[in-house]
Amino acid sequence: MQKKIMIKAGVTGLVAVALSLGAVTVAGADVQPQSTDAVAVGSDTVQYVADFVADGTPGGLNGFNQTNNARRIFSFDATGDASGRASYQSGTSTALASTVVLRAQSKPVIRPNGSGAGIGALLADTNHQIDFVRSSRLPKASEQTSGSSFGGIHVYKIATDGLQIAVNATSGGATPNWNGPGGLSAAELVSIYSGAYKRWSDVPSYTGAVPNDAIVPILPQVGSGTRNDFLADLKAANGGVDVPLAPWVKTSEEHDPTAISALAAGTQTFGPGDTAPFTNKDALAPFSTGRDKLIDTGYFGTTPAPNTVFLLNAAAPDGNAATSYNLARTLYLLARQSDVTSTTPFLPGGSLNLVNTLFGTSTSQFGKSLSNGLFTAAGVTRSWADLGFASAG
């Protein structure tokens, strides 16, 4: 019997494109989906769930693509980096918007980075290159309206995750190595991100060693569902009023731990004559609980290494959070309604369309209990539900 040599058509997450801070990246010739394959873009938070469900885990669990050669899932990560890091223009801190070829024989387009960018790409995708969107937030009402041309955006819940506050961790350890308190409440975060708390001494009951250090708040990039949900939650904690972001709030790729650990020491200027020093021990950012678990498994090797960041879990100084800020989040997959009702079978020999094969039913690839291990490997908990045309905001 002749052995066939298969050339593995890996999704982006498995094809490492060389990236490093300060290096100019060239979008390599990544694998490109055929017209009959399933293509997904969008959320950084959800990307590893989709990667494992599509391609299996390093531990040996099979994903969809192990047994489906004729029709594959291509879930393009939010950035061009398999470790979920942003790429930057050479010698700058300017994020480089990477590109991607969504279908074979098509041209590169800006890689949708984040839930908002993914939804936007779906709404603008008149050539149907995108089949579904990863999202860590519900579509907005305005986005549902914009999707009326294809019947609206159908929302499927696939998992639950947590959103906590990440800070610098002890090298090689699992303990915080930062100047702030062991926990922070939503109210304290409002004060931090609005600039009311500039220094640690501004935080009531602060007993740390560097009260004069500047607090360095970090937010995910615009278009990130994480950014959206975090700010919406702070708004709710702020009496329903949008939190005006302080000018010194930094932006980084969501769930990139190096945004904290690799932060260079510096001096924050709050105003004329009002400055304060800071190091990476003063930085904080909202961070996916699942992503932190995945990092700590060593999945990313040393890029980042396990325990690069620590998620706060102790009581907040103001007494309003017994185990620090922790927002329960839902992870979603979004599809055109017209694809939900399509009668075209996705797989040769199959009876179900793409949506119902992959995530549209409780027995689909993302919905079935058999896939629990794939979700757990990504650090999140599988939980499927058909949410119809849900929206928020």
């Binding site: 066939k4 047994t67 050669n69 020999g349 009876s351 027995t363 079935k368």
Partner: protein
């Protein structure tokens, strides 16, 4: 290594075609008629071996229903070699696609989550032969993984192999390499078709033998049932046997798999009707179960025959009760029926008297107390208890009791009598005045010794109660006609237990001037013989009424016994011959000795 996917796909497509050509050639030789068309004698392209289906007990199964979720509790790969480094087993179904090699089917339906099989201890908790197996084993996942679920996702559309579904185990991410087994769906069931399961082995159960046989006696409470399991191939399959009464499960029967023998005891009751049946089921999947023919069993047998016998006193007086006894027996040899068998109704002249008397282990008794003179016949009838398998019976003959007049009141009087102690007397007719005369001593022919002898008592004369008398004027002349009864022993003692008679003598002293007496030890008493009186208590009619005698000599220094008995009281005569010897040096003259007879 980064490669252009398009060219890679072309390459893969080219390989696929090559693979297809190879398959076309190989596929022409199917494994066997009736096997799926895509199977060759060595399987289908991509397969390393087969997949076994196992139930929760670790027993291999070869079929089930299409709704079973999961299809099997366990899937286990066998045959071939697992690629080094592979350690996760995942099961899938693949729906055949005509005109495509099996390793290129695009119809996978996942059955299991993917389970560790290579790490130490990973299969330790699996049942039966799967425990600690080195096979790639993956437990079935409950939740949407039935055959129905699989065909709902990938409908059975093959015309070459209708109803066929292939189950695979993958141990790596290369889905072109796997283990596979084909099943066929027929209606609501599925069955393994390739590799072909072991041929079915039929079994049968022999007709049931019952002891006791039907119809069983009414007293039967338990019946022993036996049968035998026989396999069509002569093997002795393992399994279990159950006993049924109609549709009622009576529980497990004793089953000896090595011999096929089946046995069970069933509880039955009088008047009962039963439909006994054994059913056999095997734990070996290709062994078909079987049932015996139904044995219809009833408990209505004929009762055991009995005999009743009455016995007891046949006379009494008015108002004086007598107890009559009845024995009830059955069987051969006849033995008393058990107490629980029933009771005895006693009748007086044919009319029942009182209530039936319950039987005991020794029968039944009836106290009859007549109130008037006359004659009444008492009979007995055995009345079996309810549920007891004995027939009634009546005594063939009765006891006729004659009742006499009432006895007057007695007048007790004292009567006294003295029983004397009695005496024990030994006597002879000889006195000092009339001694026993031995006569003249004579020299023997050799001239070596002098001797004399004479009968002591007339042995030929009838016995008498007295010793006799020597007529007046005569001496004890030997041979004289005397009323001589020798030694007479008279015992009149009440409660006598016998006596012993002895004799002792002195020396015979001679006349004056003779210095040497004749030694008394030279005297002998021989021919000692008892004479019995007719009608006497000591009459010699039996050893207990006889006197034992013996000759004596040398009875000078101490008395010697010559007669003894344990009988008494009574009178007996003892006769014999007294003899004396003397040396020839004895001087002439009349020698005299005293012989003393004593009795004790």
């Amino acid at each position: 290594m980064i490669r252009n996917f398009k060219s890679a796909m072309s390459g893969a497509a080219a390989l696929a075609i090559a693979g297809g050509l190879l398959f076309a050639g190989a596929g022409a030789a199917h494994a066997a008629a009736g096997d799926p068309t895509f199977e060759t004698p060595t399987g289908n392209p991509g397969t390393h071996g087969s997949v076994g289906f196992y139930d929760a007990g670790g027993n291999q199964i070869y079929g089930g229903t299409v709704s079973d979720d999961p299809i099997a509790a366990y899937f286990a790969a066998s045959g071939g070699g697992i690629k080094p480094g592979d350690h996760i087993a995942t099961a899938y179904t693949y729906t055949p696609q005509d005109n495509k090699p099996a390793d290129q089917w695009t119809t996978p339906f996942q059955l299991t989550a993917g389970d560790e099989f290579a790490a130490a201890g990973s299969t330790a908790g699996y049942p039966g032969s799967l425990a600690n197996s080195t096979k790639a084993v993956t437990p079935g996942f409950n939740g949407g993984t039935s055959v129905n679920d699989a065909v709902a996702s990938f409908p059975l559309a093959s015309t070459n192999d209708p109803g066929i579904l292939q189950v695979r185990i993958l141990t790596s991410g290369d889905s072109s390499q796997y283990y596979s087994t084909d099943i066929k769906i027929t209606g609501s069931t599925w069955a393994q078709v390739f590799p072909a399961p072991p041929a079915a082995v039929s079994t049968s159960l022999a007709n049931i033998t019952a002891n006791p046989a039907s119809p069983a006696p009414t007293a039967t409470t338990s019946v022993a049932l036996t049968s035998k399991v026989t396999a069509g191939d002569g093997s002795h399959p393992a399994g279990s046997v159950k006993l049924f009464d109609g549709s009622t499960d009576l529980g497990a029967a004793t089953f000896n798999a090595a011999t096929g023998d089946v046995s069970a005891n069933a509880t039955v009751a009088a008047g009962g009707s039963y439909d006994f049946k054994f059913t056999f089921s095997s734990s070996t999947p290709n062994v078909t179960g079987s049932s015996s023919t139904v044995l219809h069993y009833v408990v209505t047998g004929a009762p055991v025959a009995t005999t009743t016998v009455i016995s007891g006193p046949n006379s009494t007086t008015v108002n004086s009760g007598v107890t009559e006894h009845a024995d009830v027996k059955a069987g051969s040899p006849a033995a008393a029926v058990p107490a629980a068998a029933g009771a005895v109704q006693f009748l007086i002249d044919g009319s029942p008297s009182g209530n039936p008397v319950p039987l005991t282990a020794t029968g039944a008794d009836f106290l009859y107390t007549p109130t008037a003179e006359g004659s009444k016949t008492i009979t007995a009838t055995f009345v079996p208890a309810s549920g007891q398998n004995y027939a009634a019976s009546t005594s063939a003959t009765g006891v006729t009791v004659v009742t006499g007049p009432t006895e007057h009141d007695p007048d007790p009087q004292n009567a006294v009598v003295n029983v004397p102690a009695g005496t024990l007397v030994i006597s002879t007719p000889y006195t000092v005045d009339h001694p026993f005369n031995l006569g003249d001593m004579s020299l023997d022919a050799n001239g070596t010794v002098l001797s004399a002898s004479a009968p002591f008592g007339a042995s030929g004369a009838p016995a008498a109660t007295d010793p006799g008398a020597i007529p007046a004027g005569t001496s004890g002349t030997p041979g004289a006609a005397l009323t001589n009864n020798g030694v007479t022993i008279t015992d009149t003692r009440a409660a006598s237990t016998g006596w012993t008679a002895s004799a002792q003598t002195t020396d015979f002293t001679g006349p004056t001037g003779t210095s040497t007496p004749i030694n008394g030890d030279n005297l002998s008493f021989t021919g000692v013989t008892p004479k019995y009186l007719a009608g006497n208590a000591i009459d010699g009619s039996s050893p207990a009424k006889s006197v034992q005698t013996n000759p004596i000599d040398h009875f000078k220094s101490a008395k010697k016994s010559f007669a003894t008995t344990t009988a008494g009281p009574g009178t007996v005569n003892i006769t014999g011959v007294l003899g004396l010897t003397a040396p020839t040096s004895t001087q002439p003259g009349l020698y005299t000795a005293t012989v003393t007879f004593t009795i004790a």
